[in-house]
Symmetry: D3
Subunit: 74 residues, 6 copies
């Protein structure tokens, strides 16, 4: 009876893509560990860009910085 939590940034994932994540995660547990899909839960959390940080910066600032660095190096 696995529980899978998938956190992604909120950037327009469609219901179809979410359904694909749910199906894929459930299949993965069934294939690798023989877990019963009927008792596998998948919960997706979409996180606003301002609420997700990496490299010490909110995601958008982080991406701009990374692009700037590419620009300078190019």
């Amino acid at each position: 009876m696995p529980y899978v939590n998938i956190k992604i940034t909120r950037e327009g994932a469609t219901p179809e893509q979410k359904a694909a994540l749910i199906a894929g995660a459930t299949d993965l547990l069934a294939k690798v560990l023989n877990k019963n899909p009927a008792t596998t839960f998948v919960v997706i959390d979409e996180v606003a860009l301002e609420d997700w940080g990496v490299g010490g910066l909110p995601v958008e600032a982080y991406r701009k910085q990374a692009l700037g660095r590419l620009g300078r190096d190019g």
Copy 2:
């Protein structure tokens, strides 16, 4: 100082029902483990139906499938 997280599908739980979950979970920890309510946190997450999967399907598709099966079997 327990921390309790309750995840439910978003289907119209009222503030009164949420207050009952908070009171009930806090009482449970006090009764079973003698935990101090003053330092017991309860956090409720409501999850959109498209973000919760079971049986490899988003909840709504899962419920339709289950109903269809009941219909065929009945």
Copy 3:
């Protein structure tokens, strides 16, 4: 299909006490929101005292400080 996560400090909770938490949390969701126990998951995490902080201190240091304060005030 609720998912409940209960985090407590690791201080000797018995299997019977854990079973009481599982039964109690499941009943609570059934009573308050009419959730089906068959699809209610409860996961208990026991956290070592050195891994839990409150008031800016690990739990044991926090408790000593609180006792000291009581002593001074008493």
Copy 4:
């Protein structure tokens, strides 16, 4: 930069099986949402049987009850 948390009961998953879960979850996010594997985290939690409840019972009691029901019905 997704974060995936997989909770399973502790029943002897091998390092190879865990590596397969990590690879599979990372691939899933790459295929469905074009997420970069380099910034995809997967964290696996193994939960002791006495700490996981379903149907209001710890997993082992739940399984015994389910088997008993099958026996009576068979």
Copy 5:
């Protein structure tokens, strides 16, 4: 590659304050454990007041009760 999750009540934290939380948590892991900021994730969850409980009450009711107690005692 740490993962930090910060849950706060939703009471108007600004993007600048969230950026300060992200920077501060990332610095903390770098200073204390020499963790690489590039692989440190911080995720902030804002929780509605009715979804957060303490002392067996939703936060707003808890605050009113605490104020009332101060009033009586004062």
Copy 6:
């Protein structure tokens, strides 16, 4: 009343380092959002290397691969 969860790989963090994480995270919430340390919880989870994945690999395999790439490139 914030709740902070810090997940790190299990690689020998000492009780003193954990206490520094607890103090630092609590201070951060007090400074940035004026949160009361008395109702700030910090929970640290140490995750075994085989249970943490990045880049589609368990941490140790990921680090070996990264070193190998540095060697080839150097």
